[in-house]
Symmetry: C2
Subunit: 185 residues, 2 copies
Protein backbone atom coordinates (compact mmCIF):
# COMPACT_ATOMS: atom_id res chain seq x y z
CA UNK A 1 0.00 0.00 0.00
CA UNK A 2 1.53 3.29 -1.16
CA UNK A 3 0.97 6.20 1.21
CA UNK A 4 -1.65 8.70 0.10
CA UNK A 5 -0.72 12.28 -0.75
CA UNK A 6 -2.67 15.52 -0.90
CA UNK A 7 -4.77 15.81 -4.03
CA UNK A 8 -6.65 18.88 -5.36
CA UNK A 9 -10.27 18.74 -4.23
CA UNK A 10 -11.58 20.19 -7.50
CA UNK A 11 -10.22 17.09 -9.27
CA UNK A 12 -12.01 14.37 -7.29
CA UNK A 13 -14.20 13.68 -10.33
CA UNK A 14 -11.13 11.82 -11.57
CA UNK A 15 -11.95 9.03 -9.09
CA UNK A 16 -15.69 9.40 -8.43
CA UNK A 17 -17.18 10.20 -11.84
CA UNK A 18 -16.42 6.65 -13.12
CA UNK A 19 -19.01 5.44 -10.58
CA UNK A 20 -17.14 3.14 -8.17
CA UNK A 21 -18.56 1.61 -5.03
CA UNK A 22 -17.17 3.62 -2.10
CA UNK A 23 -16.86 3.13 1.63
CA UNK A 24 -18.23 5.97 3.73
CA UNK A 25 -16.70 6.33 7.18
CA UNK A 26 -18.17 8.40 9.97
CA UNK A 27 -17.71 9.27 13.64
CA UNK A 28 -20.35 10.41 16.11
CA UNK A 29 -20.27 10.47 19.91
CA UNK A 30 -17.00 8.56 20.05
CA UNK A 31 -18.03 5.69 17.76
CA UNK A 32 -17.00 5.09 14.18
CA UNK A 33 -18.83 3.32 11.42
CA UNK A 34 -18.44 2.37 7.74
CA UNK A 35 -21.05 1.81 5.06
CA UNK A 36 -20.90 0.91 1.37
CA UNK A 37 -22.39 3.36 -1.11
CA UNK A 38 -23.10 3.07 -4.81
CA UNK A 39 -25.59 5.92 -5.31
CA UNK A 40 -23.46 9.04 -5.68
CA UNK A 41 -22.58 11.68 -8.27
CA UNK A 42 -20.22 14.58 -8.73
CA UNK A 43 -22.19 17.85 -8.71
CA UNK A 44 -19.62 20.66 -8.99
CA UNK A 45 -15.87 21.24 -9.36
CA UNK A 46 -15.47 24.26 -7.05
CA UNK A 47 -16.74 24.02 -4.43
CA UNK A 48 -16.11 20.30 -4.85
CA UNK A 49 -19.61 18.85 -4.38
CA UNK A 50 -20.74 15.22 -4.21
CA UNK A 51 -24.40 14.24 -3.97
CA UNK A 52 -25.35 10.82 -2.58
CA UNK A 53 -28.16 8.74 -1.18
CA UNK A 54 -27.74 7.33 2.32
CA UNK A 55 -30.83 5.31 3.17
CA UNK A 56 -32.32 6.32 6.50
CA UNK A 57 -32.31 2.70 7.65
CA UNK A 58 -28.52 2.71 7.74
CA UNK A 59 -26.84 3.13 11.12
CA UNK A 60 -24.59 5.68 9.38
CA UNK A 61 -27.51 7.93 8.41
CA UNK A 62 -27.93 9.59 11.79
CA UNK A 63 -24.20 9.59 12.56
CA UNK A 64 -23.51 11.52 9.36
CA UNK A 65 -26.53 13.80 9.61
CA UNK A 66 -25.79 14.71 13.24
CA UNK A 67 -22.03 15.12 12.84
CA UNK A 68 -22.39 16.82 9.45
CA UNK A 69 -19.30 14.97 8.26
CA UNK A 70 -18.02 11.82 6.63
CA UNK A 71 -15.11 10.48 4.60
CA UNK A 72 -15.70 8.92 1.19
CA UNK A 73 -13.05 6.22 0.67
CA UNK A 74 -12.25 4.46 -2.62
CA UNK A 75 -11.60 0.71 -2.26
CA UNK A 76 -9.95 -1.31 -5.00
CA UNK A 77 -10.84 -4.81 -6.15
CA UNK A 78 -8.60 -6.57 -3.61
CA UNK A 79 -11.05 -5.34 -0.96
CA UNK A 80 -14.16 -6.81 -2.60
CA UNK A 81 -14.94 -9.25 0.23
CA UNK A 82 -14.53 -6.45 2.78
CA UNK A 83 -16.82 -4.18 0.74
CA UNK A 84 -19.49 -6.88 0.59
CA UNK A 85 -19.05 -7.72 4.27
CA UNK A 86 -19.42 -4.08 5.32
CA UNK A 87 -22.60 -3.76 3.25
CA UNK A 88 -24.11 -6.83 4.85
CA UNK A 89 -23.85 -6.05 8.57
CA UNK A 90 -24.89 -3.13 10.75
CA UNK A 91 -22.65 -0.79 12.70
CA UNK A 92 -25.32 -0.75 15.41
CA UNK A 93 -23.88 -4.02 16.68
CA UNK A 94 -20.34 -4.21 15.27
CA UNK A 95 -17.12 -2.17 15.18
CA UNK A 96 -16.52 -2.48 11.45
CA UNK A 97 -12.89 -1.29 11.58
CA UNK A 98 -12.09 -4.10 13.99
CA UNK A 99 -14.24 -6.76 12.33
CA UNK A 100 -12.79 -6.16 8.86
CA UNK A 101 -9.19 -5.45 9.86
CA UNK A 102 -9.21 -1.87 8.61
CA UNK A 103 -7.10 0.99 9.98
CA UNK A 104 -8.70 4.28 11.04
CA UNK A 105 -6.32 7.15 10.31
CA UNK A 106 -6.96 10.67 11.54
CA UNK A 107 -8.38 13.08 9.00
CA UNK A 108 -7.27 16.70 8.98
CA UNK A 109 -10.50 18.66 8.48
CA UNK A 110 -13.15 16.34 9.92
CA UNK A 111 -13.42 13.97 12.87
CA UNK A 112 -14.55 11.03 10.75
CA UNK A 113 -11.66 8.63 10.09
CA UNK A 114 -9.83 7.87 6.85
CA UNK A 115 -9.63 4.18 5.89
CA UNK A 116 -5.91 3.54 5.37
CA UNK A 117 -6.39 0.48 3.14
CA UNK A 118 -8.34 2.44 0.52
CA UNK A 119 -6.70 3.99 -2.55
CA UNK A 120 -8.18 7.44 -1.89
CA UNK A 121 -10.03 9.22 0.91
CA UNK A 122 -12.10 12.37 0.53
CA UNK A 123 -12.93 14.34 3.67
CA UNK A 124 -16.47 15.71 3.41
CA UNK A 125 -18.61 18.28 5.19
CA UNK A 126 -22.37 18.35 4.78
CA UNK A 127 -23.07 21.23 2.39
CA UNK A 128 -26.84 21.03 1.80
CA UNK A 129 -29.48 18.81 3.38
CA UNK A 130 -32.44 20.24 1.46
CA UNK A 131 -33.30 16.86 -0.07
CA UNK A 132 -32.43 14.63 2.89
CA UNK A 133 -35.99 14.54 4.18
CA UNK A 134 -37.57 13.69 0.85
CA UNK A 135 -34.93 11.48 -0.84
CA UNK A 136 -32.22 10.74 1.77
CA UNK A 137 -30.05 12.78 -0.61
CA UNK A 138 -27.03 14.49 0.97
CA UNK A 139 -24.83 17.06 -0.76
CA UNK A 140 -21.28 17.09 0.64
CA UNK A 141 -18.36 19.39 -0.02
CA UNK A 142 -15.01 17.61 -0.32
CA UNK A 143 -12.76 19.75 1.88
CA UNK A 144 -9.60 17.63 1.70
CA UNK A 145 -8.49 14.83 -0.61
CA UNK A 146 -5.86 12.11 -0.11
CA UNK A 147 -4.89 9.82 -3.01
CA UNK A 148 -2.23 7.13 -3.45
CA UNK A 149 -0.06 8.26 -6.39
CA UNK A 150 0.12 4.76 -7.88
CA UNK A 151 -1.35 3.02 -9.73
CA UNK A 152 -2.70 5.91 -11.77
CA UNK A 153 -5.77 3.85 -12.70
CA UNK A 154 -6.63 1.63 -9.73
CA UNK A 155 -8.97 -1.28 -10.42
CA UNK A 156 -12.28 -0.24 -8.88
CA UNK A 157 -15.58 -2.02 -8.20
CA UNK A 158 -18.81 -0.94 -9.89
CA UNK A 159 -22.00 -2.43 -8.52
CA UNK A 160 -24.83 -3.71 -10.74
CA UNK A 161 -27.11 -5.04 -7.99
CA UNK A 162 -27.86 -8.75 -7.38
CA UNK A 163 -24.46 -9.22 -5.72
CA UNK A 164 -22.58 -8.66 -8.98
CA UNK A 165 -19.81 -6.12 -9.64
CA UNK A 166 -17.98 -5.13 -12.80
CA UNK A 167 -14.40 -3.98 -12.35
CA UNK A 168 -12.73 -1.15 -14.20
CA UNK A 169 -10.59 -2.30 -17.09
CA UNK A 170 -8.76 -0.76 -20.03
CA UNK A 171 -7.93 2.93 -20.23
CA UNK A 172 -8.95 4.78 -23.42
CA UNK A 173 -7.31 8.17 -23.97
CA UNK A 174 -9.34 10.36 -26.34
CA UNK A 175 -7.87 13.69 -25.29
CA UNK A 176 -6.86 14.50 -28.87
CA UNK A 177 -10.56 14.65 -29.86
CA UNK A 178 -11.54 17.19 -27.17
CA UNK A 179 -11.80 20.92 -27.46
CA UNK A 180 -9.47 22.31 -24.77
CA UNK A 181 -12.30 24.02 -22.85
CA UNK A 182 -14.16 20.70 -22.60
CA UNK A 183 -11.39 18.96 -20.65
CA UNK A 184 -12.44 20.48 -17.31
CA UNK A 185 -10.41 22.36 -14.73
CA UNK B 1 -27.20 -4.61 -32.90
CA UNK B 2 -29.76 -6.75 -31.08
CA UNK B 3 -33.20 -5.16 -30.75
CA UNK B 4 -34.04 -3.78 -27.33
CA UNK B 5 -36.83 -5.26 -25.25
CA UNK B 6 -38.92 -3.96 -22.38
CA UNK B 7 -37.07 -3.98 -19.08
CA UNK B 8 -38.46 -3.37 -15.57
CA UNK B 9 -37.96 0.28 -14.61
CA UNK B 10 -37.19 -0.56 -10.96
CA UNK B 11 -34.10 -2.45 -12.18
CA UNK B 12 -32.38 0.32 -14.13
CA UNK B 13 -29.71 0.51 -11.38
CA UNK B 14 -28.37 -2.61 -13.11
CA UNK B 15 -27.06 -0.36 -15.91
CA UNK B 16 -26.72 3.08 -14.30
CA UNK B 17 -25.30 2.38 -10.83
CA UNK B 18 -21.93 1.28 -12.32
CA UNK B 19 -21.51 4.91 -13.41
CA UNK B 20 -21.27 4.86 -17.23
CA UNK B 21 -21.18 7.87 -19.48
CA UNK B 22 -24.66 8.20 -21.00
CA UNK B 23 -26.17 10.06 -23.93
CA UNK B 24 -29.22 12.17 -23.09
CA UNK B 25 -31.62 12.78 -25.97
CA UNK B 26 -34.34 15.41 -25.95
CA UNK B 27 -36.98 17.01 -28.16
CA UNK B 28 -38.47 20.48 -27.87
CA UNK B 29 -40.40 22.52 -30.42
CA UNK B 30 -39.75 20.00 -33.19
CA UNK B 31 -35.98 19.81 -32.73
CA UNK B 32 -33.97 16.99 -31.20
CA UNK B 33 -30.65 17.09 -29.41
CA UNK B 34 -28.15 14.81 -27.68
CA UNK B 35 -25.67 15.53 -24.88
CA UNK B 36 -23.15 13.40 -23.00
CA UNK B 37 -23.58 13.10 -19.25
CA UNK B 38 -21.33 11.66 -16.56
CA UNK B 39 -22.79 13.24 -13.43
CA UNK B 40 -25.76 11.07 -12.51
CA UNK B 41 -26.89 8.72 -9.75
CA UNK B 42 -29.68 6.30 -8.99
CA UNK B 43 -31.90 7.73 -6.21
CA UNK B 44 -34.76 5.24 -5.74
CA UNK B 45 -36.03 1.89 -7.03
CA UNK B 46 -39.79 2.64 -7.10
CA UNK B 47 -40.55 5.16 -8.36
CA UNK B 48 -37.42 4.65 -10.45
CA UNK B 49 -35.55 7.92 -9.85
CA UNK B 50 -32.32 9.20 -11.41
CA UNK B 51 -30.66 12.43 -10.30
CA UNK B 52 -28.27 14.22 -12.65
CA UNK B 53 -26.49 17.48 -13.36
CA UNK B 54 -27.18 19.17 -16.71
CA UNK B 55 -25.11 22.34 -16.87
CA UNK B 56 -27.20 25.36 -17.78
CA UNK B 57 -24.77 26.23 -20.57
CA UNK B 58 -25.82 23.13 -22.50
CA UNK B 59 -28.26 23.61 -25.36
CA UNK B 60 -30.10 20.58 -23.90
CA UNK B 61 -30.73 22.31 -20.55
CA UNK B 62 -33.67 24.43 -21.69
CA UNK B 63 -35.02 21.76 -24.05
CA UNK B 64 -35.22 19.27 -21.19
CA UNK B 65 -36.45 21.76 -18.61
CA UNK B 66 -39.20 23.11 -20.88
CA UNK B 67 -40.32 19.74 -22.24
CA UNK B 68 -39.94 18.03 -18.85
CA UNK B 69 -38.64 14.94 -20.62
CA UNK B 70 -35.55 13.20 -21.91
CA UNK B 71 -34.21 9.75 -22.72
CA UNK B 72 -31.06 8.46 -21.01
CA UNK B 73 -29.26 6.15 -23.46
CA UNK B 74 -26.38 3.79 -22.64
CA UNK B 75 -23.63 3.71 -25.28
CA UNK B 76 -21.02 0.96 -25.36
CA UNK B 77 -17.31 1.30 -26.09
CA UNK B 78 -17.69 0.98 -29.88
CA UNK B 79 -19.38 4.39 -29.77
CA UNK B 80 -16.54 6.16 -27.94
CA UNK B 81 -15.72 8.54 -30.80
CA UNK B 82 -19.40 9.42 -31.18
CA UNK B 83 -19.68 10.03 -27.42
CA UNK B 84 -16.67 12.35 -27.49
CA UNK B 85 -17.90 14.09 -30.63
CA UNK B 86 -21.35 14.73 -29.15
CA UNK B 87 -19.76 16.19 -26.02
CA UNK B 88 -17.61 18.55 -28.04
CA UNK B 89 -20.16 20.34 -30.21
CA UNK B 90 -23.40 22.20 -29.56
CA UNK B 91 -26.89 21.26 -30.65
CA UNK B 92 -27.55 24.96 -31.14
CA UNK B 93 -25.84 24.71 -34.51
CA UNK B 94 -25.91 21.01 -35.42
CA UNK B 95 -28.41 18.16 -35.83
CA UNK B 96 -26.46 15.62 -33.80
CA UNK B 97 -28.46 12.59 -34.99
CA UNK B 98 -27.52 13.45 -38.59
CA UNK B 99 -23.95 14.49 -37.87
CA UNK B 100 -23.10 11.33 -35.94
CA UNK B 101 -25.13 8.85 -38.00
CA UNK B 102 -27.47 7.92 -35.16
CA UNK B 103 -31.07 6.75 -35.55
CA UNK B 104 -33.91 8.42 -33.64
CA UNK B 105 -36.56 5.86 -32.73
CA UNK B 106 -39.92 6.83 -31.28
CA UNK B 107 -40.28 6.43 -27.53
CA UNK B 108 -43.58 5.24 -26.08
CA UNK B 109 -44.10 7.50 -23.05
CA UNK B 110 -42.20 10.66 -24.00
CA UNK B 111 -41.63 12.70 -27.16
CA UNK B 112 -37.83 12.67 -26.82
CA UNK B 113 -36.27 10.07 -29.14
CA UNK B 114 -34.52 6.80 -28.27
CA UNK B 115 -31.04 6.36 -29.78
CA UNK B 116 -31.23 3.03 -31.61
CA UNK B 117 -27.46 2.40 -31.60
CA UNK B 118 -27.28 2.43 -27.78
CA UNK B 119 -27.48 -0.75 -25.68
CA UNK B 120 -30.27 0.61 -23.47
CA UNK B 121 -32.65 3.58 -23.46
CA UNK B 122 -34.54 4.87 -20.44
CA UNK B 123 -37.50 7.16 -21.04
CA UNK B 124 -37.60 9.84 -18.34
CA UNK B 125 -40.05 12.44 -17.07
CA UNK B 126 -38.93 15.33 -14.89
CA UNK B 127 -39.95 14.38 -11.34
CA UNK B 128 -38.51 17.19 -9.20
CA UNK B 129 -36.76 20.40 -10.19
CA UNK B 130 -36.22 21.70 -6.64
CA UNK B 131 -32.43 21.81 -7.08
CA UNK B 132 -32.27 22.88 -10.71
CA UNK B 133 -31.90 26.55 -9.88
CA UNK B 134 -29.13 26.07 -7.33
CA UNK B 135 -27.16 23.10 -8.73
CA UNK B 136 -28.54 22.35 -12.23
CA UNK B 137 -29.63 19.08 -10.58
CA UNK B 138 -32.62 17.33 -12.18
CA UNK B 139 -34.48 14.38 -10.68
CA UNK B 140 -36.11 12.22 -13.35
CA UNK B 141 -38.46 9.27 -13.09
CA UNK B 142 -37.71 6.45 -15.52
CA UNK B 143 -41.15 5.66 -16.93
CA UNK B 144 -40.15 3.08 -19.54
CA UNK B 145 -36.95 1.07 -20.09
CA UNK B 146 -35.64 -0.64 -23.23
CA UNK B 147 -32.57 -2.90 -23.04
CA UNK B 148 -30.81 -5.16 -25.53
CA UNK B 149 -30.85 -8.67 -24.02
CA UNK B 150 -27.25 -9.39 -25.06
CA UNK B 151 -24.53 -9.09 -24.05
CA UNK B 152 -25.57 -9.29 -20.40
CA UNK B 153 -22.59 -7.14 -19.41
CA UNK B 154 -21.99 -4.61 -22.20
CA UNK B 155 -18.63 -2.86 -22.21
CA UNK B 156 -19.39 0.67 -21.03
CA UNK B 157 -17.37 3.91 -20.85
CA UNK B 158 -16.60 5.57 -17.52
CA UNK B 159 -15.20 9.08 -17.69
CA UNK B 160 -12.32 10.28 -15.51
CA UNK B 161 -11.96 13.80 -16.95
CA UNK B 162 -9.01 15.00 -19.05
CA UNK B 163 -10.31 13.14 -22.10
CA UNK B 164 -9.67 9.72 -20.54
CA UNK B 165 -12.16 6.89 -20.06
CA UNK B 166 -11.89 3.56 -18.31
CA UNK B 167 -14.02 0.76 -19.74
CA UNK B 168 -15.90 -1.85 -17.75
CA UNK B 169 -14.04 -5.14 -17.48
CA UNK B 170 -14.37 -8.40 -15.58
CA UNK B 171 -17.54 -9.45 -13.80
CA UNK B 172 -17.24 -10.51 -10.16
CA UNK B 173 -20.20 -12.40 -8.70
CA UNK B 174 -20.33 -12.17 -4.90
CA UNK B 175 -24.00 -13.05 -4.48
CA UNK B 176 -23.15 -15.93 -2.15
CA UNK B 177 -21.83 -13.43 0.43
CA UNK B 178 -25.00 -11.29 0.50
CA UNK B 179 -27.89 -11.50 2.92
CA UNK B 180 -30.98 -12.04 0.71
CA UNK B 181 -32.61 -8.75 1.78
CA UNK B 182 -29.49 -6.84 0.70
CA UNK B 183 -29.74 -7.91 -2.94
CA UNK B 184 -32.38 -5.30 -3.80
CA UNK B 185 -35.73 -5.70 -5.52
Amino acid sequence: MIAKRDFPVYKVRRYLEPGPIVLVSSRWRGKTNIMTMGWHTVMEFAPSLIGCVIASGNHSFHMIRESGECVINLPTTELVDVVVGIGNCSGARIDKFAKFGLTADAASEVKAPLIRECHASFECRLHDDALVGKYNFFIFEVVKAHVAPEPSHPETLHYTGDGVFVVSGDVVDKRALFRPEMLGP
